[in-house]
């Protein structure tokens, strides 16, 4: 029993390393990582799927590794200052090639960050991050307004 658990944990650690080196190293920002890893999760079951990782390990190990990395990305984002969060959102907008105005409008209406939270997150921590996103979006919107107003002035 002990050996099986230890072996499984070692497999998960290896899968986490593999995921970090092959995939997550290409995604430097924690916001992008959070969104990417949340998109690997099936909303009906809460399980994570990654075919490449599952073929190298097992589906169960891949799922656990993705969950671990998702939690890490979430914790990294929570520990970011508001200034850093705004900067990450600006970089994320330019990486997605979306119009900043459309992006801010869509995120304010849809609040997609609400579904990007890992399972078993403390409700206060989740609420704090949602609140930070709301403020960051307001800051971005204000910047867009002032940028629009500047040429007129």
């Amino acid at each position: 029993m002990y050996t099986a658990t230890t072996t499984r944990r070692m497999d998960v650690d290896q899968a986490v390393d593999d995921l970090r080196h092959r995939t997550l190293s290409e995604i430097p920002r924690s916001l992008d990582r959070l969104i990417y890893l949340a998109s690997m999760r099936d909303y009906n079951t809460g399980l994570y799927y990654h075919d490449g990782l599952a073929s190298r390990f097992t589906q169960e190990v891949a799922c656990q590794a993705l969950a671990d990395c998702h939690r890490d990305a979430f914790n990294q984002l929570v520990s970011c200052s508001l200034r850093e969060l705004v900067a990450q959102m600006e970089e994320y907008i330019s990486a997605t090639h979306t119009s900043p105005r459309n992006f801010v409008t869509a995120w304010k209406k849809l609040e997609p960050y609400r579904v990007a939270v890992p399972v078993e997150t403390d409700p206060v921590v989740a609420h704090f991050l949602f609140s930070s996103f709301k403020i960051a979006l307001a800051v971005l919107e204000a910047r867009l307004h002032s940028a629009q107003a500047e040429p007129v002035a």
Binding site: S81, L82, D122, V124, V125, A138, A142
Partner: protein, 192 residues
Amino acid sequence: MIQLIFFLSIGGLLFASLFFLARRKPRPEGSSGALIEARQALMALQAGLLPAQLVKRIFAPEDWEFVRAEAPTAVRELFIDERKRVALLWVSQVRTQIHNLRRFHRGAARSYARLNPRSEMELAFSFAGLILACRMLQLVIYVGGPYAAPRLIGSMVDAASRACKISEQSLAFLNAAQLGVLNGRPTGSAAV
């Protein structure tokens, strides 16, 4: 006539107290369910609510400085409202979990004779002080905003962490006692 009203009022009060006592849900004190509930409360405090990283982020003055320097009045107001809401939620969650732990220790003190009376007394005072501090903090944050009492927050977090450590030691002993019961071994610690 006055006497009749007086006795009727006393009767009414007694009836109301009986009604509320009958409606109260029975709490399984000293049971494994109560132990699990207490462990969950302890975990929520130690891993979720009290880590310095989270407390530092919720009450971070640099966030306010950033918003004050970069954003218009409407965003500043939004920031203060949002941080105030999060801070109040945080304090209320800390208070709820401390209440849960206190309830468990009260029940455990009645059920186990082997508990250390000194540490239980210390815990009882700590819990009472913490609940009072939480109430004060809620009032201060509600009136003065999230940055009104940084020192009170710091000392409350320190006191709560100390209380959690003492409680954890008690829970470790109780856990061993519960396991003894489950394994069919007499623990010799249950009070009559």
